[in-house]
Subunit: 431 residues, 2 copies
Amino acid sequence: MSARAGILVTGTEVLDGRVRDRNGPWLADRLRELGVELAYVTIVGDRPQDMERALRFMAEQGVDLVLTSGGLGPTADDLTAEVVGRFQGREPVLDEALAERIETIVSPLRKRWPNLDPEAIRVGTHKQATVPVGATVLEPVGTAPGLVVPPGARAGGPTVVVLPGPPRELQPMWSAAIETDALREAIAGATVYEQRTLRLFGIPESEIAETLRQAEREGIELQRLEVTTCLKRGEIEIVTRYEPDGASVYDELERLVSERHADTLFSTDGDTVDAQVAQMLRERRWTIGVAESCTGGELTARLTSPAGASEYVQGGMVVYANDAKVALAGVDRKLIDEHGAVSEPLARALAQGARARMAADVGVGVTGVAGPGGGTERKPVGLVWLSVAGPEGASITRSVSLPGSRADIRDRAGTVSLHMVRRLLLGESDG
Amino acid sequence: MSARAGILVTGTEVLDGRVRDRNGPWLADRLRELGVELAYVTIVGDRPQDMERALRFMAEQGVDLVLTSGGLGPTADDLTAEVVGRFQGREPVLDEALAERIETIVSPLRKRWPNLDPEAIRVGTHKQATVPVGATVLEPVGTAPGLVVPPGARAGGPTVVVLPGPPRELQPMWSAAIETDALREAIAGATVYEQRTLRLFGIPESEIAETLRQAEREGIELQRLEVTTCLKRGEIEIVTRYEPDGASVYDELERLVSERHADTLFSTDGDTVDAQVAQMLRERRWTIGVAESCTGGELTARLTSPAGASEYVQGGMVVYANDAKVALAGVDRKLIDEHGAVSEPLARALAQGARARMAADVGVGVTGVAGPGGGTERKPVGLVWLSVAGPEGASITRSVSLPGSRADIRDRAGTVSLHMVRRLLLGESDG
């Protein structure tokens, strides 16, 4: 039997979609590591009644643990600690020592903004230091303390872990939370599940459905695995969870997928194409440079996103205007006049230009119509030409027709170009 | 009395955080436009039992409308239509005509992937065309039809709108859904709320809390407004909702905020700094170019994100390596040797280089330590130097110490630089 949990994200700004919830996904990963099954993520606004109802719902489903994020700020619309205390049947008490520690934390603010009202700060601090009796306090990383609140004597039900909204505060405070006795008791006896991820590029999802049916016909006991497939940034991801004794069943499934989809399966250990490209460049001590147009900087931003990217990324040129293509990437203006900015020769010239101007081992060129305007019958929105160039004349050039919005097209063009870089690094070349 | 709604997002990949939910926020905006109050967003995995429980929870809270997204694909783990039909007490029926229409949609797939198994496609199509009796079908934009499913005779409770997961399918299908009688009936009598947004840059959230207390002291009837404040990309956003007759109360609040925070309030109509910069550049027919280092392409990606950005963005240089700073942005190598890559002179040189090399009216230079490695005592992680340069020698140069992760630092540095561009466009200059 596995322990089950729910995540309750609070905040009208998250419910409304003005702020994206980054804590739910992060906490989901941490729960999985602990062997706790996540059953629900619920987002509510800053209305105490809705928060209480969502807590009651999760308690009624029998979850052992509820994690809340948000609503711990100094403003009056931040009510989580109060609501959770009441839900657990625990009175609010001002923790004077905690109030002093928060005072110490916020005092540098006064230097930065000397006109702050000291009374405003005091009211906020006292609010943040008022905690349910019997709760374990998690020391603030920002200014807000977190809490582990076991059910009160009358209440029964789940233990509630109250965490702040900002991810950089929540994450270290979660590490402190899992060290507390209150949390350990709540999840005692959790089963640790295994999870494995396969990634494929270049086939539709229905083919995977057929492979799963084939697995059943071959007698692979799929009921012992929890398999989910999804389309993500133009790739298919197959995630499988199983209890440790299901490992041999998973191995059979992976074998079948590898056989049927040898040409499109590119990752069996969950690594993304981004991570594979980064690792291959590192191992080879090769560098990469980009000349991108329709992706507008996103491809270079994606390459430079991991820590340590400066080891292998020389840089990028976002050659949006045609003048920039000529002046920066060294593209021959005649090519643009003859073939247009979205064309095979331009993609090649951009890849070569990126390689030369950046003094990089691998150059990438991307040019396309991201839309929504600017499409023509011959060059519709979604048409993207891509080229990668490596040492000794190696190169791969392709065009794709990408579906979706401007943002989708920019994102997918990035994915396609990374797959082309991967193939070049594996030794493929058109020539 | 306002109609209330819940959003139920399904999919283990979303619950696990492998795929970010983009539909909840988008649907939240659409509900607001319709005057429907959003009470809950719940994410569940592909387990029918959890989906049913979440539907029951929302029904018990008395919502008038539930919107579901996801779980309409051809694979067997996509169960939403079946679960919703059962919940509403409506039998599943194969809609033969719908099956044929889906067949027509998927047939081009066979050309693209000639090895597809026709039986796999047929099974998937029939699954997708099996709908609860009495439901209104929303024509597929991808391959999956949506549904508007009123409560069955026995069931009572909310009307459920079943939508697909991919945003580019969901969005047009939502437009079709709001034209259906079934949905119109479910939300008849909704009050249309007003919503206004203020944005401030450069003060802490506690100051806004104090302003709200001041508003109460001045007798502004805040209880007639629903005010939420949040920190977002380094800015403060104050969103206020009110019924139409609360407009004069809102005007008083806005006046007070404008008085107390004249120097930091930059938007009273909800426009982001991104939108303001884009509009000012357009109006002036000025162009912009970027030379960015620690932001790795994100600033240029942000500038080129809106449709039509090619009117004013010349392009960008991601000068990650020092060689690229010299070769591309024309930075004097001596400056790097003397002052280091993260320094005031470098930021200036990058802004000037961006302006010159891109032949742009405005140049932006960003150089900093995004971390997590590479920080020193004198130049710690989070230190970023920024400079903007305009015509006639106008320029603004600043350094900031940004908190948070590598991703936070990159994102906030982008926000700070856009505010500097805004101020340059408003006529400010250091010189």
